[in-house]
């Protein structure tokens, strides 16, 4: 069994063990409902964050990195490359990610959605010039197809999110989603050489490095802007982003 998928699945199941240690019990229903508002927010789970000290340190590290390196790069890049071009590049990389979304739709048994993804890919590749333009947005049935990934697939399969993790450079994640990230990495066509599909190591590494670098830098202005917006209103940015990440992932699993 040399297949990386098996390895990832194995890892996922063994990691899901570390998820059960989290505090899952809802707080006791002691909130007296004055007026007619029952406290529907009280039964929210307490965040599963046993590594909070490490996470807060990493969060501070990423924050400093954003402040002194990523934000200046993002600003410079945004000055040189106008927004329509940036959007086009983002679209092209998203289009290339089609196999990842498609495979995960299938793995989740969402056949209609996998068909929509295929339709999107064809329309955008052909009419949208290799995915540079997202023509599919103008097709009502192909608009707003929720993007699936392997972390979500594992969630649909019933694997709990596991402890929250802040990853250096990558930002918020969790045990399950990190495993998902590795799974998607394998499926993403622009990474295929890395798992031995394209053989010439030097050439493929160079191409891959250039591509992933382009994708990252191109996405930076948006990433930094999102981060700034989320933290601007926050009293405790770490908790705000943790809650946003966990709630958003949970909502996407239900979709």
């Amino acid at each position: 069994m040399n297949n990386p998928i098996f390895w990832i699945l194995f890892l996922a199941f063994s990691l899901s063990g570390c998820a059960t240690s989290g505090k899952r019990s809802a707080p006791p229903p002691n909130y007296s409902s004055r007026s007619n508002t029952t406290d529907e927010f009280a039964n929210g789970q307490k965040a599963n964050d046993p590594f909070i000290r490490f996470n807060r340190t990493m969060f501070a590290f990423n924050d400093t990195l954003t402040k002194y390196a990523l934000r200046p790069i993002a600003r410079g890049y945004a000055k040189i490359v106008p927004r329509p071009v940036r959007n086009g590049i983002t679209n092209a990389f998203d289009n290339a990610q089609f196999p990842v979304r498609f495979v995960n739709c299938v793995l989740q048994g969402k056949l209609k959605r996998s068909a929509q993804e295929t339709g999107k890919f064809v329309v955008n590749s052909v009419a949208g010039v290799g995915g540079l333009m997202r023509v599919s947005d103008h097709v009502p049935s192909l608009d707003n197809v929720p993007a699936e990934d392997f972390g979500l697939t594992l969630g649909v399969w019933g694997i709990p999110a596991g402890p929250y993790l802040v990853v250096p450079l990558l930002g918020p994640s969790g045990c399950r989603d990190l495993v998902g990230f590795a799974g998607d990495y394998v499926i993403y066509p622009l990474n295929w050489h890395a798992v031995g599909i394209i053989h010439h190591a030097f050439i493929s590494n160079t191409i891959n490095g250039a591509l992933s670098g382009t994708r990252t830098v191109n996405g930076l202005p948006k990433t930094v802007q999102d981060y700034d917006q989320m933290t601007a209103a926050a009293v405790d940015p770490y908790i705000a982003i943790r809650d946003a990440y966990i709630s958003n992932r949970a909502a996407r699993i239900k979709k």
Partner: protein, 172 residues
């Protein structure tokens, strides 16, 4: 009603030229449609009952300022987004949700925003906004929970004051 509310708020926001102007002009409209007292109480969580009335007043005032200030800062320099309204989902007789989709002009992404409403004697009021599955109130509750646990009402007020001070200084 939400449609009128959002359109009203958006037209005020996108016809103003400074965030201070938006903040002062938009506040009466927001007060008309939002149950700010419930939003604040729910955002602070069960710890709110331990606050003295004076602290409660101060905290809700600061919290309201923070929300209005940060969101009006965000609007400046952007173009008015397009909003699509879905069908109202009734949840019991005194509660409903209105799903919407917001499409910013500058970006090719859209996001789901759900307004949650509650029927009060004065009429329907918004008590939470859920953006891409993230509840505004629950997000703040998580933040405040730890602050209240550590330092009670004074810590909350301090945190809000310092946030407002840093927000206004980093604006220029």
């Amino acid at each position: 009603m939400i449609r009128t509310a959002t359109e009203e708020v958006l037209s005020i926001a996108y016809s103003s030229h400074s965030s201070e102007a938006i903040a002062t002009r938009v506040r009466p409209t927001l007060d008309r449609y939002f149950a700010f007292d419930i939003v604040t109480r729910q955002a602070m969580g069960p710890g709110w009952r331990g606050f003295s009335p004076a602290d409660q007043k101060r905290a809700s005032q600061l919290f309201g300022d923070l929300i209005v200030r940060t969101y009006s800062n965000r609007v400046i320099g952007t173009q008015r987004p397009r909003i699509e309204y879905g069908a109202v989902v009734n949840i019991g007789s005194d509660r409903c949700e209105l799903p919407t989709r917001v499409r910013p002009v500058s970006s090719n992404e859209s996001f789901a925003v759900v307004y949650r409403l509650l029927k009060l004697p004065a009429g329907w009021r918004i008590y939470d906004i859920v953006i891409e599955g993230v509840s505004f109130v629950a997000n703040y509750r998580a933040q405040f929970a730890e602050i209240i646990e550590k330092g009670g009402a004074p810590a909350v007020i301090r945190a809000l004051e310092s946030k407002l001070a840093s927000a206004s200084s980093s604006q220029s």
